[in-house]
C-alpha cells in the first residue's frame, strides 16, 4: 500500500510540477502582485491602494461594462445562430462534411488575420458590409472609426468568430441523437418545429451548457479581436476597451503591474462567480 502510494505520486509528479509552475504559481503571483506597486523589478507592498485606484478609474469601469455587454450580447446571439446553422446543415444539407470543414476553418485561422480581413469588410467607405447595406438602402454606419460603434463592431465580430467552434461541437451533438427518436416522432406526425423543441433542444442541453460556459469565459477574456479590429488600439479613444485590454495596457504600456494584477484578480472573481452561477442554473434546467 505504502509503496504503491509512492509510485502513484511519482507518476503524478510531472503533471503536478507542470500545473504548479504554470497554473497555480502565476495565479498566486498575480494575487500577491495586486497588493504591490512599483515596476516589475522593484516591487513594494502597498496594501489595497491598487484596488482603490482601480475602483476609482472610469476606464476600468468602462472596460468592465464593455466586457459584460460583450458577453451578455454576443454569447446568446452567437449560440442561437450556431444552433440554427448547425440544425440547418444537419437536417437539410447534403455533403455535410464539406460545410462542416468550411465552418470550422475560421477556428483554425488566426484571429489576427481574420481581424485584418474584417477591417476591410467593416471599412466605412469601401467596405463590403457597407456596400451591401447601401445596396439595400439601409444606413451605413462608420463601424471602425466611430467611438459609439466600437462595441457593436466588436460584438458582431465576436459572434462571427464564435460560430466555428460552436457549430462543430453542436454538429457532433446532433449526430449523437438517436435517429430513431425522429422516426418515432414522424410516425406520430410531429411537425418540424415540434421535433426541434421536443427532441433536438432537450437533447442538446448538456452540450449547450458546455458551450455557454466556454463562450462566457472566452467572452470575458476578449482581447485579440479588439486588437486586430482596431489596429492595436481599443477603438477610437479607447471606446472599445475590454477587461483584458485594460490589464494589458496597465501592465505593458503604463507600467503599473500592480494595478494590472488587481484588475486580473477582479476579472478572475467575476468569471468564477458567473461560471458557478451558470452551473447551478444549468443543473436546474437539466432536472426539469
Amino acid at each position: 500500500m505504502k509503496t504503491n502510494q509512492k509510485k502513484a505520486w511519482l507518476f503524478l509528479a510531472p503533471t503536478i510540477i507542470f500545473v504548479t509552475f504554470f497554473s497555480i504559481y502565476p495565479i498566486l503571483r498575480a494575487f500577491v502582485m495586486s497588493f504591490q506597486s512599483g515596476s516589475l523589478i522593484n516591487l513594494s507592498w502597498s496594501g489595497l491602494s491598487n484596488y482603490q485606484y482601480l475602483f476609482k478609474d472610469p476606464e476600468f469601469w468602462l472596460a468592465i461594462k464593455n466586457t459584460a455587454l460583450y458577453a451578455l450580447i454576443s454569447v446568446p446571439i452567437g449560440l442561437a445562430i450556431s444552433i440554427l446553422l448547425a440544425w440547418i446543415i444537419f437536417s437539410k444539407v447534403k455533403h455535410k462534411s464539406f460545410f462542416e470543414t468550411t465552418f470550422f476553418m475560421p477556428y483554425v485561422t488566426s484571429t489576427i488575420a481574420i481581424g485584418i480581413v474584417f477591417r476591410y469588410i467593416f471599412n466605412g467607405d469601401y467596405g463590403l458590409l457597407n456596400f451591401v447595406l447601401r445596396c439595400l438602402h439601409l444606413p451605413a454606419p462608420i463601424w471602425i472609426d466611430d467611438p459609439s460603434m466600437s462595441l457593436t463592431t466588436i460584438i458582431i465580430f465576436g459572434i462571427w468568430t464564435s460560430l466555428a467552434f460552436n457549430i462543430v461541437i453542436l454538429m457532433g451533438a446532433l449526430r449523437n441523437i438517436d435517429p430513431n427518436f425522429y422516426t418515432v416522432a414522424d410516425m406520430y406526425g410531429a411537425s418540424g418545429a415540434e421535433k426541434f423543441w421536443r427532441i433536438t433542444m432537450p437533447e442538446l442541453i448538456p452540450t449547450l451548457a458546455f458551450l455557454l460556459t466556454m463562450n462566457i469565459i472566452g467572452a470575458f477574456k476578449v482581447y485579440t479581436s479588439v486588437y486586430a479590429l482596431f489596429n492595436g488600439q481599443a477603438g477610437v479613444g479607447n471606446s472599445g476597451t475590454t477587461a483584458v485590454f485594460y490589464i494589458y495596457n496597465k501592465f505593458q504600456i503604463v507600467g503599473t503591474p500592480g494595478v494590472a494584477m488587481a484588475a486580473t484578480v477582479v476579472l478572475f472573481l467575476i468569471i468564477l462567480f458567473i461560471t458557478f452561477l451558470q452551473r447551478k442554473m444549468m443543473k436546474k434546467i437539466g432536472e426539469n
Binding site: 430513431n180 427518436f181 422516426t183 414522424d186 410516425m187 406520430y188 406526425g189 432537450p202
Partner: protein
C-alpha cells in the same frame, strides 16, 4: 372488408439503391386480431417488410392493404400503426408519462394535455407501469423500458402493432416472462400484431402464425407446429428445431435409399407422404434428433463421441459420413461416452429433400 385479410401484402418487392434485392415477390395476409411472427435469420428481409408496412420505407413494387385499403401512398402517421423499436427509442429527457403521452400531444390531431394524460394513464395501467410515471427511462430496467415502449405504441389506439425484435435487448429469463406478457397484452387489447424475431423459440411460443423468411422470400407461412412436422423445404427443416436436424447424404437406387452404414426400403416408407414420384439419384435424408433413437434392432451402428446434457434430456453426438449428428435421448438412458450403439429412425418422421432443397417426402 373481410377480417381474414386485415393486413394484406401483395407481390411486395424492395430493391435498395445499392442494388441489393431485400425482398423478392412476397405475398401474405394477416387475420384481424392475430399475432403473427415474421421469423428469419439476419438479413432475410423481415425488418425491411416491417418498415415498409410502417411506411418508413417505400416498396419498389407491390401493394399493401390495411383493412382492404391500399396504404402504399399513405404517410406513416396516417396508417394507424404503433411501432416498437428494437432499442425502444424512448426519449431520455422525458419522464415515462411524457414518453407515453408523446404520440397524443404532437401532430395535427393533438389532444389537450389533460385528455392525453388520461389516455396515457389507461395504457400505462394496462402495461403495469403506472407507478413509474415520473421516472426517466435510464432509471428503468430493460423489461420496464420495454413496457413503456409498448404503452407508447398503443396509446394512439392504432389498428396494427409492429414490433421489431422487441425482446433482443433483454436477458434470457426476462425474455421468457416479457414475451408472455406481450402476448397477453396484445390479446387483451385485441390489436393485430406483427412481431419480427430471429428466435424460432420466441416465434413458436408467441405467434398465432409464423411466416419464415430467407433471402427475401417466404419459405413457409404456417402454424407453428407445421414447421416441425411439415417443413416446406430443406431450409425450413434446418432453421426450425433445436437441437438442429440431422442431414444424411443418401442415394436412391434399386428401390432402396442407401447411405453410408444404413439403407431403407422405399416400400417401408409411408407412400402417402411422397409429394411426387422420385427418380433414382442423390437426395438428402433429414431426421430430427428426437426421431432417431437407440434401439437394439436399429439399422445404424454408431460410436458415441460425446454427450451433452440439456435439462431433462441428453444429446448423443456421433459421427456419420464425416459429419456430426445427434440423437436426443432421455436423461436416464444407460449410455456412456465411447459406447457403440445402434440407432433407429421413425420412418414416418423423416424427410427427403432434393439437393436443391425441394421436399419430396
Amino acid at each position: 372488408m373481410g377480417n381474414d385479410k386485415f393486413v394484406e401484402v401483395k407481390n411486395l418487392k424492395k430493391v435498395y439503391n445499392n442494388g441489393h434485392e431485400a425482398i423478392k415477390d412476397v405475398s401474405f395476409s394477416v387475420k384481424k386480431g392475430d399475432l403473427v411472427c415474421l421469423l428469419g435469420p439476419s438479413g432475410c428481409g423481415k425488418t425491411t417488410i416491417l418498415n415498409i408496412l410502417a411506411g418508413l420505407l417505400s416498396p419498389t413494387s407491390g401493394d399493401i392493404l390495411f383493412d382492404g385499403k391500399s396504404v402504399v401512398k399513405t404517410a406513416p402517421k396516417d396508417r394507424h400503426i404503433g411501432y416498437v423499436f428494437q432499442n425502444y427509442s424512448l426519449y431520455p429527457h422525458m419522464s415515462v408519462l411524457q414518453n407515453v403521452m408523446f404520440p397524443l400531444v404532437v401532430g395535427k390531431n393533438k389532444k389537450p394535455k389533460a385528455e392525453a394524460k388520461k389516455i396515457a394513464e389507461k395504457y400505462m395501467k394496462l402495461a403495469q407501469i403506472s407507478d413509474l410515471a415520473d421516472q426517466r427511462p435510464h432509471n428503468l430496467s430493460g423489461g420496464q423500458q420495454q413496457r413503456v415502449a409498448i404503452a407508447r405504441a398503443l396509446v394512439g389506439e392504432p389498428k396494427i402493432l409492429l414490433m421489431d425484435e422487441p425482446l433482443s435487448n433483454l436477458d434470457a429469463r426476462l425474455r421468457l416472462k416479457i414475451r408472455e406478457e406481450i402476448r397477453s397484452l396484445v390479446k387483451e387489447v385485441g390489436i393485430t400484431t406483427l412481431f419480427v424475431t430471429h428466435d424460432q423459440e420466441e416465434a413458436l411460443s408467441i405467434g398465432d402464425k409464423i411466416i419464415l423468411f430467407n433471402d427475401g422470400v417466404i419459405q413457409q407461412d404456417d402454424l407453428g407446429q407445421n414447421f416441425y412436422l411439415k417443413p416446406n423445404n430443406y431450409f425450413v427443416a434446418n432453421f426450425v428445431g433445436n437441437p438442429v436436424i440431422n442431414n444424411f447424404k443418401v442415394k436412391k437406387d434399386d428401390g432402396k435409399i442407401k447411405a453410408k452404414d444404413f439403407e431403407i426400403n422405399v416400400d417401408d416408407l409411408d407412400q402417402d407422404r411422397f409429394k411426387r414420384e422420385i427418380p433414382d439419384g442423390d437426395y438428402i435424408l433429414s431426421v430430427r434428433p428426437e426421431n432417431i433413437l437407440p434401439d437394439e434392432n436399429g439399422g445404424l451402428p454408431v460410436h458415441v463421441d460425446d454427450i451433452e446434457l440439456i435439462g431433462r434430456e441428453r444429446i448423443l453426438k456421433f459421427e456419420h459420413d464425416g459429419k456430426q449428428a445427434r440423437s436426443l435421448v432421455d436423461l436416464e438412458a444407460p449410455i456412456k461416452v465411447g459406447d457403440d450403439i445402434k440407432l433407429k429412425m421413425r420412418l414416418d418422421r423423416i424427410f427427403l429433400f432434393t439437393p436443391d432443397g425441394e421436399r419430396v417426402y
